[in-house]
Amino acid sequence: MKRPELISRILIITGILLAVGAPLFLWARTPLIHARMAEDGGWNPDVIQAEAGKPLHLKLTSDDVVHGFAVGQMDMQSVDVIPGKVTDITLTFDKPGIYTFYCTRWCGINHWRMRGTIEVSGSPSDPEPAIVPLYVSLDLDIDAPHDSPVIPIEKPSAISGQQFASNLPIDQSTDYYRSNAPYQVFDELTNASLTEQQSWDVVAYLWQSNTTPESLANGKELYAQNCAACHGENGAGDGVFADDLAEAGEASMQTMEGAMNMVMQNPVDFTDPRRMLGASPALLQGKILRGGMGTGMPMWGVIFTEEQIWDLIAYIYSFQFEYDK
């Protein structure tokens, strides 16, 4: 073989090997976490391993639309995951355990199914006793109907209720507030010499006195980010996905692997007094923690801290009560 032929063959083969090998090598060395809409697979991988105390570097990319990334129960700012771009993020976990990461952008009607877990290994330095949620310790059946038999004519006012409450021997403790539905408190006030509307105003005051403007503001933010897509900005169950969810119905539930024969329900209307005044904060805690079990309502227990859930509940009641601004 003549020298030019040999050199040209070597050049061609080298070029082909480089064109194939270099991208493959670099691709294999860059593990990405791909985000796709839940219908197309959600997060991939959806289980990530980490070690407590050691920084975890993640490279996130979206294969379709804009998604967001955050880790539940962790004090972190969510980051956007842009189609075709790579978002770098470093996380450090103090304690071992299983953490849930989730999408923070309303990417589609199955947005809330976009979750994965980070398994953080390490020996727990200070084992913490498991805290039993209030709804469990109260043994509440959170799936039982809980409509209030009576509802106020006007939206109860905490400002108005304050003047009556001071003369009444009512329990204003947090435990009492969390364990009782507004209607139950209203019921206990029947012996007081108040009109029905005044009694409801006292209930509103009691609910306001068990929260703070900071908690309400925090709850409002959490609600806007995580709940409004389905339940609506004003709590009326008319979020941007509500119509799509109703339309998708059973079909939507069947798109996921392992889904049972379930039918998507319309999101709850928080402005409905019959439903909301019959629900105690503990009951709502159970619903938020556990989720709706086949209704389309996701479980938030792995995402929100207990404090965040109480803040959220306080805000949800503001759709029923007129609070002091």
């Binding site: 073989m1 032929e5 040209s8 050049l11 991208p23 860059t30 990405l32 294969d63 379709d64 189609p83």
Partner: protein, 442 residues
């Protein structure tokens, strides 16, 4: 007609005669092609950020349809990497002279396939899947691989470049429109070829290979099937091959005389009119139908697409020319007058391509820095924002292209038409089609 022989310039001539400059370009193109395949298969599935989509369907397409075809004819074929691995395997060499005995089957392509119907079909197949192909990197990667292996397979079974000549979906329309280009490869003196012994330009010799495109340069009157591979410049023992600059559309004075080529003109003409509606138009239902391949609506879309190209456009054209009388048969007049659609079709493609190329060209910067979507920033442009370019001149440029195309086609119709027959129906046909394009694009 005036022509300027570029190969009189010794630099140009030597550069074309030598195999090394071409080989250097070939290696770069092949590496780029393989990288585009890899990017399509393993890179981000987001088309606008993937090298394969951005470089094939935006950068390459822009260069091809706006520069290479109008000004260099089959200039792209001269550097195309697709046939190279097959050709090198077929020859058993990259540079060395060919063996006397063929290394593979070396069959002649059966006569029934020695036309461009297969190219018409392969183009239409890609055209029907184009909404998915143009936006989905792994589909683009698969198509690029398929073309590479089809070329290798055909090179092993058949002689010469059977893939380029008879199957390549791109080569078909490049050949059609190369007739309008102001560049040509032709012989200098016909008598030299007549008396030339052994015809090494076609049969090969110790200094080079016989025409890979299965064309005898001595009889060539059109650019259509000359791939500008420059092999005949190397093999001609009489220095009788020239690359000429010539007036635009010189080949169109000789009308089309084949039905496959006439229909190629209609396929390209029709596709150029359908694409703006599907890809740029405001009709969501149409876009969905084109994108959702395999669904009922897609089959309806495909049927309408094919009906427009094979029935509606040729049908109206035929009705138009039936109103005139001539010595030639209707079929002959159909083929001959279809030549008039070639310049207008090319200008339709130019006008349509300007829209999406200028709209999407800014993706090139981002894809250059991060071709696989792995978070690289090789040239600091990975986060370049999407920005449509030259928006103020887009509409005037498209209008100009269409008007030029219309005038060009009208003149072509007059040139190819037999004396005494009216070309008014063809001109009206072109005018109506141009008006529809203006409405679709502006």
């Amino acid at each position: 007609m005036n022509r300027i022989e570029l190969t009189r310039n010794s630099f140009i001539k030597n550069a074309l005669k030598s195999r090394y400059p071409q080989l250097a370009v070939f290696i770069v193109m092949l590496v780029g092609y393989i990288f585009a395949i890899l990017a399509g298969l393993i890179g981000t599935p987001v088309g606008s950020q993937n090298f394969s989509i951005v470089f094939v369907w935006i950068a390459w397409w822009a260069i091809l349809i706006l520069i290479a075809v109008p000004f260099f004819g089959r200039g792209w074929c001269a550097v195309c990497p697709i046939p190279l691995p097959g050709e090198w395997l077929q020859r058993g060499a990259v540079l060395s002279p060919p063996d006397k005995r063929p290394k593979w089957l070396n069959l002649r392509v059966p006569k029934m396939f020695r036309n461009i119907w297969l190219q018409n079909i392969s183009f239409l197949l890609l055209a029907l899947f184009s909404s998915v192909l143009l936006t989905t990197p792994n589909i683009t990667g698969i198509v690029l691989v398929a073309m590479l292996f089809a070329a290798i397979g055909l090179s092993i079974v058949f002689e010469r470049r059977a893939f380029c000549r008879y199957l390549c979906p791109v080569g078909g329309f490049i050949g059609l429109y190369s007739q309008t280009a102001p560049i040509e490869l032709r012989i200098k003196d016909k008598q030299v070829c007549v008396t030339c012994e052994g015809k090494p330009c076609y049969n090969g010799s110790q200094v080079g290979y016989g025409c890979p495109w299965d064309v005898f340069p001595g009889g060539m009157t059109k650019n259509t099937f000359c791939g500008l591979c420059m092999e005949c410049i190397r093999t001609c023992p009489h220095d009788n091959i020239a690359i000429n600059l010539r007036p635009f559309s010189a080949d169109l004075a000789k009308p089309t005389a084949r039905l496959d080529e006439a229909f190629k003109a209609f396929i390209m003409f029709g596709a150029a009119m359908i694409y703006p509606g599907v890809l740029l138009g405001p009709w969501g239902t149409l876009k969905d139908a084109a994108y959702n391949v395999g669904t009922g609506t897609w089959f309806i879309y495909a049927a309408v697409f094919l009906a427009i190209i094979f029935i509606v456009l040729p049908g109206i054209f035929t009705l138009g020319i039936m109103t005139t009388k001539g010595r030639q048969s209707l079929k002959q007049r159909f083929m001959s007058l279809s030549t008039a659609l070639i310049p207008l079709g090319l200008m339709f493609w130019v006008a349509f391509s300007l829209s999406f190329v200028l709209t999407n060209a800014s993706y090139i910067l981002a894809a250059l820095s991060d071709p696989l979507g792995l978070g690289w920033n090789l040239f600091g442009t990975a986060n370049a924002a999407w920005q449509p370019m030259l928006t103020t001149i887009l509409a005037p440029a498209q209008t100009l292209a269409l008007v030029v195309g219309l005038v060009w086609s009208a003149r072509t119709a007059q040139k190819v038409n037999e004396a005494g027959t009216s070309t008014i129906p063809v001109i009206i046909y072109c005018f109506v089609a141009t008006s529809i394009m203006l409405w679709l694009l502006l």
